[in-house]
Symmetry: C2
DNA sequence: CTGAAAGCGCTTACAG
DNA sequence: CTGAAAGCGCTTACAG
């Protein structure tokens, strides 16, 4: 009852029935202007706010969206969180934020989302088991994987066209004259990292060019230490394609520490186009992920599935673009 | 009703009353082991999850904490978000994330929090009017301002001891031989920026040393452009005390662009100790904000006020410490 | 357009 | 320990 004021109190003060109060606040119903005014005045006076829980209980609908996120240390994700929150707010939805420390989203997190009967779920950089997907399906809760996908595509996902991007990147680097390149991967078994490697290797294979792959983890430290290892091996490649920007910054810093000139001695290209990539000290050439469009597609899907649950499956991939700066 | 399974269904299958099902799931009540097992088995079979809305409606309690945040572009805040979410999850609470684009938290955001009858509210880098504070008080919702405070201290706040920190910083810089210093402020009228200036100026005044203040806005770009302005004025100070790290990085980059050696020609010190401050390219000397302790104090307060609302007022300030790196 | 009433899924006195 | 019943604050047929 929030502040102890409920619809009955308002009704009494306004001299109408509780049903009328409800009609005024729920919208869609027909109420005479006179009644509306009386109710609104009384509500204002009393400071009435409808109880969302009672509302959800009776309508069996919720205005809560669960957003699951792991890598808050990669600026890409806070940005994503912000955009989702802003969009959903405009539509009258609130976001229940779930942070998971594990790669795979945990049972307790799922239960929480289920407890709250969320209207929809967005999972960003966490993986989830098929069983979890089933849990959501059973409850008819629309789910979208944002910036991730899975082999057995039995759900909806939204991302960048990683294949197109990485092919483009390979072509671009080739055209710049690079011949022996390195791919610094993100966390293993993430679809983004796998796809980015695939497109890249495709083009190189077509050109009969070998390349090396170094496994890293999508973090600054990962990029930094991977680059250190490469540098210490003594074989500096002509270019690094790094699976995301935050790692690429680590690579650049390692290179700088060893006074290896970029782009003269080697080139570096990242992925995401986080804010920091544009900082003058880095000036990182990268591939821009079209966050706004990705968010928009995700929101559209969720909203349409909330309106009518069809369990539509699919994979939307939006094309990004190359942002050429000073590291290539 | 989530998946359509409610306590009555479980009761039927288990052959007990609905009350018993409730007792098993709500805890605290006495149930025989035999009943408990039957209920648990039936619930498992049916995939029963208690409806949080019905629960909240009847208990008039919620396990939702509202977290209001603005500056997701400053890595300090995503870190804070993560820590709060983790702590609260352990205690069985979920976080309702509210992002505000405005300095002052908006009416609609407050209403949302009120709609959901949140058990507590944490406000980080947004300001709020007295009226809003009253709204929460009226509803007996504990509120804490995290990393902010206000003159008329009629609520609870948790932060770093900014005065102690900035005095220490001034002393430190003085000891390093700096005489003409500059303070780069954060967003105007934020308590953090004001206090950091106050402690700093106190010490300088005591030493009869003038200093200049440049107003900025707690963003990388702000720091960068402020430094540019200073550099172009031709008067390079012997040290910059920058009100937060993200701005300090901007200052460092501007300095580097103009080939002004740090710490040889000028020194730079930040505030927060965000991850990036430790990156080798920056190696920023800074003041560490004890996030974990600040979060812990905040959580403790909220939880104790949830258990018994006393509207206790106060201001907890935790001492941070100087992290000396290579920019001083 | 409006009111009285049923019912959403729970918790919790109240008896037994 | 257990069940029947009341009631949390709403929405929404159903009559009028």
């Amino acid at each position: 009852m929030s502040n102890g004021i409920n619809a009955r109190d308002v009704a009494k003060l306004a001299g109408v029935s509780q049903s009328s109060v409800s009609r005024v606040f729920f919208g869609g119903a027909s109420v005479s202007e006179k009644t509306r005014q009386k109710v609104l005045a009384a509500a204002e006076e009393l400071g009435y706010v409808p109880n969302e829980f009672a509302r959800s209980l009776i309508t069996n609908k919720t205005r809560l969206i669960g957003l699951v996120m792991k890598g808050v240390h990669n600026p890409f994700y806070p940005q994503v969180l912000k955009e989702f929150t802003t969009h959903f707010k405009e539509l009258g939805y609130s976001v229940l934020f779930v942070h998971t420390n594990h790669d795979e989203i945990q049972k307790e997190d799922i239960e929480m989302l289920l407890h709250y009967n969320v209207a929809g779920v967005i999972i960003t950089d966490a993986t989830l088991s098929l069983r979890v997907i089933e849990d959501f399906k059973k409850n008819k809760i629309p789910l979208v994987l944002f910036n991730r996908k899975v082999e057995e595509q039995n759900f909806f996902s939204v991302g960048t066209n990683n294949l197109e991007a990485s092919r483009h990147i390979a072509d671009y680097l080739l055209q710049k004259g690079c011949r022996d390149m390195v791919y610094v991967s993100g966390a293993r078994n993430t679809s983004t990292s796998i796809e980015r490697e695939r497109g890249f290797s495709e083009i190189l294979a077509k050109n009969k060019l070998p390349y090396k792959i170094y496994h890293s983890n999508y973090s600054y430290d990962g990029g930094y230490h991977t680059a250190k290892t490469i540098i210490q091996s003594g074989e500096i490649p002509s270019a690094f394609f790094v699976a995301n920007d935050i790692m690429a910054l680590g690579v650049l810093d390692a290179l700088r520490e060893h006074s290896i000139a970029v782009p003269a001695e080697t080139k570096v290209i990242g992925f995401d186009n986080i804010e920091m990539a544009a900082w003058p000290i880095y000036n990182l050439t990268t591939w821009e992920q079209p966050i706004s469009q990705m968010v928009q597609e995700t929101v559209d899907y969720i909203i349409s599935e909330i309106e009518e649950y069809t369990d539509r499956i699919g994979n939307i991939e939006i094309n990004g673009r190359l942002i050429e700066r000073k590291t290539t």
